[in-house]
Amino acid sequence: MEDIIYIEKEKFHDVALEYRKKGYDFLRSLTGIDWGEDGLGAIYHLENTSTKENIVLKTLTLRREDPHLLSVADIWKGAEFNEREIYDYFGIQFIGHPDMRRLFLREDWVGFPLRKDYDMSLNPLRMSNEETSNDTQFIEVLPDGSVIKHRDLLFDNDEYVINIGPQHPATHGVLRFRVSLEGEIIKKLDVHCGYIHRGIEKMCESLTYPQTLALTDRLDYLGAHQNRHALCMCIEKAMGIEVSERVQYIRTIMDELQRIDSHLLFYSCACMDLGALTAFFYGFRDREKILDIFESTTGGRLIQNYNTIGGVQADIAPDFVSKVKDFIKYLRPTLKEYHDVFTGNVIMQGRTKGVGVLSREDAISFGTTGGTGRASGWACDVRKRHPYAAYDKIQFDEILYTEGDCFARYMVRMKEIEQSLNIIEQLIDNIPEGDIQVKLKPIIKVPEGTYYSAVEGSRGEFGVFLESRGDKHPYRLKFRSTGLPLVSAMNTMCRNAKIADLIAIGATVDYVVPDIDR
């Protein structure tokens, strides 16, 4: 249960600005909620990055037709995409937002799907192509209280706009950028999300808590353990369940294995995007070994289904410990090989050093957590900020670089593999005995309240916001996507870079599209 400060919607922008001046510079999560009779609104999770203090703000509007709230996109840049998401889901228009468009759904979508009174039959499966609209709107409120909408163009008619994606080898899935070029130089970039939007948050509202777990593995599929860990932790926190030491240790080891898995894939894909196809295979070859370890314990390679509410699905496989140790022994020298073939390469360094610089201020403002934030010098590791599971019992370094360029982002992840190996080494021999599953009632009901918990996913803070009304279904379940802040920062990073740099930036920022679209 969290303390939420309610602020009237007229004053919200001023109050938010005041909090920003007090040092609350990181907008952790922005969640839109439909409280039915009590209005439509948004919940803001803020963090002061220097003192690690957290507060939660809330604002709402009672109008259901044409609801308005004040935008905070000028205070926290990360709010820009999140407010578009809320507009998309709840129809709340944010006054002062520079680019008030839908984010995930089609332009011709009828209604706002996450409202409780939304009628599913309004949107049959459309077989027609969606026309790409070049329009956006900017909403302004006049001193007399009337609201006017200004129509705006995204790109001028004489700009040379090319589509990168949705089907493109370097966007790692179905993400689409519209890029305005001048020769090879990128002048403006517009991100189109939603090609793999599945409405997981909406689906969760009609599923029981154990059922919602299965969907988390399908968000960021390279952080399946971590995502599920976050949701389990959130539900356990809400229900006051204490999981055993053994489970804590196993979850931590699994999270770190998953991180290595994800970073190896990152390495492979970065190599491939930069054109080094051979190094790509080396990364995949070694990732396969982790997947084998996963398979023997969890039964899955990509979708693992391992964490459950109050425990884990099954005890670790008998050969788990020895296999993990062998893998650690194997990976350390192999990492050196990676550095020889790719990191040290003069071409690679030339293509990544000084490219796509993201300053520390921008990183915090956008909320680009994970490797991207740490490459910009922002100590944003949730494992250090708000330790969970067994992370307070172990020694590890938070890798920080200050350059904020592609090379720093790349190196942060490569060094994190080593740190993850250290963490696993510290834990693997000391897994305590204990139950692997807390006994629960057959029907899980979460007490009323709002809860937020976060884990350090493979590519940033993965948060779960849960509002419960005491049912066996969540009232609102929001996943703080790790990828959405990353792509929202793309326009800033890619300005005046070349097309080839866009690929390098995209590769090192390391977004996963199903996690952005949810």
Binding site: P169, G275, A276, F281, G350, K498, I499
Partner: protein
């Protein structure tokens, strides 16, 4: 060592025995044409198979192994697939240029291909400015690439074509200068003469340091000229999907594809001829018995052996390095390769003037 000139002379005499000189020449030209095109195809197939196997070995894979023993029939299947695919015509493209482009590319490639001396007596185009002709004809290819990019009316293709225009023309320079370095040593541009002068030692040993530097520069520049990794910017897969040939399908694409691989072979073949002695066996002065053994190996085996070795080197290069960016490509050429090759040319001049070579 067997001289293939005997066979050609025999055919020539036989034809002359029952027909006038003019007709015989026409028939011989046609025979040579058919021979070159067939050899071109065979080389293309060998190259594609080799590329797939070699790249697989570098990437800890096995490569094609399902069709035929060691996957050898795979290439035949690929050719059949390519031939039976539909050639899509793009509605808003410039039809004429769009269809013309692959033929210009293949024409340039075949012309350059016919300059290569494959063995003793197998020289199709062999005249006193052979190297000059080869450089000239191979650079026609860039026109085809530009036309493909422009004609297909696709933004990716256009960017790819512009990149290749800048790249191929720049790299022509350092490739030519490094060839010029060796011409200094040989004082001839005729391929058959160049090979004959390497009877005692190959030029890479004869010209020692400057020749070796020229060899390396030629390999780099040659690789860039045929748009292969790490210089495959015009078709940078992860940036421009397929670059200038994005919109081509079926055999139109096949022509680009084949031309790319044979161009690689040509670059390697020229490198083998000029630096490694072409079809000339390895001769070491004084070791008469050794030289005699070497002479037993047919000249054509020598040529293909050396060329495929150079191809393997180039593939090693391609499958090891990441791709360069357009500005880095131009920096490499104009700030590094050209000054170094100019300096190298100067060194070679000194070597030749003072007779410092072996």
């Amino acid at each position: 060592m067997f001289d293939f000139g005997i066979i050609t002379k025999w055919i020539h005499d036989w034809l002359l025995s029952f027909m006038p000189m003019g007709l015989a020449t026409v028939i011989e030209c046609m025979l040579v044409g058919i021979f070159i095109i067939l050899l071109y195809l065979v080389v293309a197939v060998i190259m594609i198979y080799m590329e797939r196997k070699v790249c697989a070995a570098f990437q800890c894979r096995l490569g094609p192994n399902r069709v035929g023993p060691w996957g050898t029939i795979q290439l035949v299947c690929d050719v059949i697939k390519m031939l039976t695919k539909e050639i899509i015509s793009i509605r808003s493209s410039d039809k004429f240029l769009y269809n013309l482009a692959p033929f210009i590319v293949i024409l340039a490639s075949v012309m350059a291909f016919s300059c290569l001396p494959f063995g003793r007596g197998i020289e199709v185009l062999d005249f006193n400015v052979g190297i000059f002709f080869l450089m000239a004809s191979s650079s026609i290819g860039v026109v085809g690439v530009l036309l493909a990019g422009w004609g297909s009316n696709n933004k990716y293709s256009l960017i790819g074509a512009m990149r290749s225009g800048a790249q191929m023309i720049s790299y022509e320079l350092s490739a030519s200068i490094s060839l010029l370095t060796i011409i200094l040593l040989t004082d001839t541009m005729q391929f058959s003469e160049i090979v004959m002068r390497q009877e005692d030692t190959w030029f890479i040993f004869k010209g020692h340091i400057p020749a070796f530097i020229a060899f390396v520069i030629y390999l780099i520049a040659g690789n860039a000229e045929v748009n292969r990794g790490p210089f495959d910017l015009p078709e940078a897969e992860s940036e421009l999907t397929a670059g200038f040939h994005t919109e081509y399908s079926g055999m139109h694409f096949g022509l680009f594809y084949v031309a790319e691989f044979v161009n690689l072979f040509i670059i390697a073949g020229v490198a083998a001829t000029i630096f490694l002695g072409g079809w000339m066996p390895l001769h070491i002065a004084g070791w008469e018995n050794f030289n005699a053994v070497m002479d037993f190996i047919p000249s054509i085996v020598w040529f293909f052996g050396k060329t495929l070795f150079v191809v393997w080197l180039l593939m090693w290069m391609k499958w090891t390095f990441p791709r360069l960016r357009i500005d880095q490509i131009l920096t490499l050429e104009w700030k590094y390769l050209i000054p170094i090759s100019m300096l190298n040319l100067l060194i070679m001049t000194i070597v030749v003037v003072f007779k410092l070579h072996f």
